[in-house]
Subunit: 369 residues, 2 copies
């Protein structure tokens, strides 16, 4: 976090402090610290550990802010992301993914274990057998992934014990279960998804116990369901929110974060008023193309809540401004719909530290495997 | 293109020639060459130049294949992309974008002009004035962007002369007009968009002539409208297709390219059969999150045309296989919906040259400004 001050743009059209040609992603670190602090306090009060998902930011600097705020480790989605964070001295890493392990993946995990505690997921007997074949009797820890209603990966919760037993027989150290209640990404499902998560994890924990394995880790969490899970953690020992650190337009529109909590914006320049609208130089190649069914557009403009981003190309966003649009040359901020995919499009985050602009590398960008 | 042979994966689950841990993007260069050759032949027969849009591939190797096939230069969307291609000895570059130029952008363009012919767009009198203020009386060439029905950027075609005259007064060398008929991205609009393009460019050319400026470049093109524009180019002197080189699921589903022409695939591994489906390790962080209204899902599986990608997360795609899904460990190919955004997510394309796998850097990835 010891980055040089950046040269400022000279044009009168640019506000002071614009460190680069637009479009670029900016982070308000004071807001990040507030978001992290609030979640840490709530988790401590609920007796639940936080293991934030670092796929959201892919930034070692941000991961370290999370660890300093009390997180027990980080969550990632791929071996490649784990390697990056381990190189940056993060030494407790959950790869919350049902890895299909072959020799190459096993070699990488073995190397990773020399630098960090490593926990991975599995959701099937064949997957558990592959883990045992290549990595049995190593320090690798495993959690069984269960489906709590998102219907992506994860076994039925009542099957967790069978998979855990297969893993155990193959020499794998099963520590518990995890789920991702991703169906929380719907305005009506924030609390019901948390209920589903509690119920599924309770069933999974019982299933593990029936198979003779005491679940020491019972892990859940998503940003939309975070508050509800903290209100009533049930069997949860750990939560893995990701977006909560920086927020995005999805969280704003789901009602889980307010505009004053959103810490990640895309700074962009109006390049055209064609058609009486504001067309800016940010498109899907920096905002991401995500658009959830409940989204009002392809991102949001905090300074103009009535504005709607009605059209997105790779390097254009067309904004119905709901009034006279700002003229070409005006710099505005857009909050991306989905922080995780926007961050993964850039190599650098421009971070405002009380007026100083620092560069944070998106060190784990593109580490998809 | 002088890359080393890559180490092969040893697992019996992987087919020979898999150069890396999945997911990764693979290119079939024989198909690319056929796609380029066919377009070049058709363009030559129609008397139209090709200036392919390099934002699709961001690869100097692929740009050079296009130039070797007769392209007059390349098109890009940003100054940053132009800088990358100029560094790779591409010396004729159109930035098909209504740039809003400030001092920093002007300095970069000035530097670029020492290495390449540089053409940029403008779509307003203020934009033209800014170009003149910072870059008047330089070798910079300018095309007026007109709106032919996509309703993104571009002035009304009949206003082209007024903008060109303003640019000319400001010391800018106006060479003609361009448009992007992006409304061709609809199954019913392939031919009508080409008609709109011809009509708009004819009006723009007349408007330039009325302002005393002879249009030497009249530029259009998109992949969906390419065939129709080549059938009847009207006033067009140049076409700028991008996706035609590699294809994608959008082109397949629009009916403009057949599966045997698609040269870009995401190689991915089945990691789970949860819910009786195939869940693979490719998600929006390598396929992109694009999903057009006419798309059948989040990409297509050529080996199983009935399969539908029904759900996409950052590192998971859930495939309804329409039959018994392949077991975990199976490697399959997915054609991304939108090639341009998928390529922009990786640093390397793995290119099959008759069995040899070479690495092509995605050198212009992330150059958004």
């Amino acid at each position: 976090m010891n980055s040089p001050r950046l040269p400022m743009v000279e044009s009168a059209h640019y506000p002071a402090g614009v460190p680069a040609t637009t479009p670029y992603l900016a982070v308000d670190v004071a807001r990040v610290r507030r978001n992290l602090g609030r979640a840490a306090e709530r988790a401590a009060a609920s007796g639940v550990s936080l293991r934030p998902h670092a796929k959201t930011h892919k930034s070692p600097e941000l991961a370290w802010l999370q660890l300093q705020a009390g997180a027990v480790g980080v969550t990632v989605a791929t071996i490649g992301e784990a390697e990056v964070f381990a190189r940056h001295r993060v030494d407790d890493i959950l790869i919350a993914y049902p890895l299909w392990v072959d020799r190459r993946a096993a070699d990488r995990l073995r190397d990773l274990m020399t630098r960090a505690r490593v926990i991975v997921g599995t959701d099937s007997v064949p997957g558990a057998a592959a883990l045992g074949r290549f990595l049995g009797h190593t320090p690798l820890e495993v959690l069984v992934e269960v489906d709590s209603g998102h219907h992506r990966t994860g076994c039925p919760p009542e099957d967790a014990g069978e998979i855990a037993a297969a893993a155990h027989r193959a020499g794998v150290d099963v520590r518990g279960a995890f789920t991702f209640p991703g169906h929380s990404y719907s305005p009506d499902a924030l609390r019901t998804a948390a209920e589903d998560e509690r119920r599924a994890l309770a069933v999974a924990a019982d299933s593990l116990r029936a198979a003779g394995i005491e679940p020491r880790v019972v892990s859940g969490g998503s940003t939309p369901s975070l508050e509800a899970s903290l209100d009533d953690p049930g069997p949860l020992t750990e939560l893995r929110p990701g977006v909560y650190a920086v927020g995005d337009a999805q969280q704003w529109e789901l009602g889980t974060m307010g505009p004053e909590e959103l810490a990640l914006t895309c700074r962009t320049t109006v390049v055209s008023n064609a058609g009486g609208r504001a067309v800016v130089d940010a498109g899907s190649k920096i905002l991401g193309a995500d658009r959830a069914p409940y989204s009002s557009g392809f991102g949001r403009v905090p300074e103009r809540e009535e504005a709607r981003i009605v059209m997105l190309s790779e390097h254009h966003a067309v904004i119905d401004w709901a009034g006279t649009p700002p003229p070409p040359g005006t710099v505005i901020d857009i909050v991306p719909n989905h922080a995780c995919n926007a961050v993964n499009l850039v190599d650098t985050l421009y971070v405002d530290h009380a007026g100083d602009v620092r560069e944070w590398p998106v060190a784990a960008r593109g580490h998809n495997s």
